[in-house]
């Protein structure tokens, strides 16, 4: 074991946890003021609920052994035997440090979905959804890609820090949940402005900062590989933010703060699968593609009339697919040990495309069924009166902004 690697992985785990509050503010600023606490709470509660589901069996299902390439076993239930040494996983960091790092990914992934269903989902339904989803969708996906399952081992597709496991997965689940849940009351008729873009911009900054742990920490060591992921992560975020506001300038005539923040997140999403496999020039390509294409993808919800309230699909699903596919073109073995199509290995692009199709198909079907079951039993939506009054008061009996005592 290596103390430097261990220090970096523990630091990275803390950075990744910090992204969930960042995400909460990013989303919280974009909803109307009557729903800000309900939005924050749907992110924060993931830190509670998913930690519990993952301690009990989630981590074991994802990372303990392998049953037929599709799921782990239950030998590590309750985190017993995940100890102070590196006996199980064999990294240069202790097994419990690796586990803690993985916990933070399991927390933020369902939290990402919250933006799509903003302002109209019951707290109880949300809590049950993410608790079950973290075990039946996230854990298997993490196993397939990182835990010795068939996508990583047999298909040989690559995903450095979670383009597939985190972003495509959450983006598709968001689509499934939105289709069952339906649009907000007044969608496309009433003005639904972000109520506090400073919160959103602050949240985007926290995400950018935390993402260095997310991506560079995924090297699971503190060497040049981590530094390369750090570099490509920053480059992609910077380029995508810039390209997004260029696209706004060309189409609407004004660059916006929300656009810059959104572009940065889109770039961070797209570089996630590729961060440890590509160089900085490729990061520019990936960032530019994310900035322009995710901006274009915003119109899908109006074209197909689904209320993806805070654009989780345009940013995380589309951004994740961009990253996963471009990785199949731009990977260089001198950086991460694998070549893409442009560096002499055309099959890598096919593998990446296949892994995307599998993730999209599995996550959509299981998320949709889960949403349908909740819809038919406890119900997903609050009453119309509660939704109109705002979820802060009706779900939580609190107000986000008390302007006069």
């Amino acid at each position: 074991m290596d103390t430097g690697d261990t220090a970096w992985v523990l630091t990275s785990a803390a950075l990744v946890l910090f992204m969930t509050p960042g995400l909460a503010l990013f989303y919280g600023g974009m909803v109307r003021s009557k729903n800000v606490l309900a939005m924050l709470m749907k992110n924060y509660v993931a830190m509670g609920v998913v930690t519990i589901t993952w301690i009990v069996i989630g981590f074991s299902l994802a990372f303990s052994g392998d049953v037929g390439g599709v799921i782990g076993n239950l030998n590590l239930w309750g985190m017993r035997d995940v100890g102070l040494e590196n006996e199980i996983f064999g990294y240069t960091v202790p097994d419990n440090a690796f586990a803690m790092f993985q916990f933070m990914f399991a927390i933020i992934t369902p939290a990402l979905i919250a933006g799509a269903v903003a302002e109209r989902i019951k707290f109880s339904a949300w809590v049950i959804f993410i608790a079950v989803w973290s075990l039946v969708v996230y854990a298997p996906m993490a196993h397939w890609v990182w835990g010795g399952g068939f996508i990583g081992v047999d298909l040989q597709a690559i995903d450095f820090a979670g383009g597939l496991v985190v972003h495509i997965n959450a983006g598709v689940a968001a689509l499934a949940l939105v289709l069952v849940l339906g649009p907000r009351l007044g969608f496309r008729r009433e003005v639904m402005r972000p109520h506090s873009l400073p919160l959103t911009v602050l949240g985007a900054g926290m995400l950018w900062f935390g993402w260095f742990g997310f991506n560079a920490g995924s090297a699971l060591s503190a060497g040049g590989g981590a530094a390369n992921a750090f570099l490509t992560t920053h480059v992609a975020a910077a380029v995508a933010a810039t390209c997004w506001v260029i696209a706004e300038q060309m189409t609407h005539g004004k660059p916006t703060t929300l656009g810059f923040a959104s572009g940065a997140v889109a770039g961070l999403v797209a570089i996630t699968p590729a961060a440890g496999f590509v160089g900085p020039l490729s990061a520019i390509v990936i960032g530019a593609a994310a900035g322009f294409i995710c901006f274009w993808a915003l119109r899908l919800k109006f074209r197909f009339n689904f209320d993806d309230s805070l654009d989780v699909i345009a940013v995380h699903l589309v951004g994740g697919i961009i990253g996963a596919l471009l990785l199949g073109l731009l990977a260089e073995s001198r950086i991460g040990g694998r070549d893409g199509l442009f560096f002499g290995e055309p099959m890598q692009f096919v593998r990446q495309a296949a892994s995307v199709a599998i993730a999209v198909g599995y996550s959509f079907v299981v998320s949709y069924v889960l949403a349908r079951i909740l819809h038919a039993t406890i119900g997903l939506r609050p009453s119309e009166a509660d939704e109109r009054a705002g979820l802060d008061l009706t779900l939580h009996e609190e107000q986000g902004w008390v302007l006069a005592e």
Partner: protein
């Protein structure tokens, strides 16, 4: 006594306060409000979604004055708030039956 209510462009508030102090006004109230008049709304764009926003931010100031000071206050607000462009606002003048200073119980002009 008169209650003078003025709806003004927010950036004019401090200038008007200074001018009214100069004219002898000893107090006023101001609040942020939203409204629409002949000055139509505007468009805001968030992630490509365009919203027509009808209400624009304004400031409402309220001044209680003696009848003799009222014409000066009205003309001061009028000249200070005017930029000549649409959205400069409006002034309303209301008669006031009585004014009470809560702390002392003074009434009428003594309470101003």
């Amino acid at each position: 006594m008169k209650l003078i209510i003025a709806y003004i462009a927010p950036f004019k508030l401090e200038e008007i306060r200074d001018a009214l102090k100069e004219a002898g006004v000893t107090g006023l109230s101001a609040g942020n409000i939203q409204g629409f008049g002949r000055q139509a709304g505007h468009t805001e764009t968030y992630r490509g979604a365009e919203y027509e926003v009808d209400f624009v931010p304004k400031v409402r100031i309220e001044v209680l004055v003696d009848d003799t000071l009222a014409p000066t206050v009205i003309s001061t607000i009028e000249s200070t708030a005017r930029t000549g462009s649409i959205g400069d606002g409006k002034i309303a003048v209301l008669p006031v039956e009585d004014v009470i200073r809560i702390r002392t119980g003074e009434r009428g002009r003594d309470a101003l």
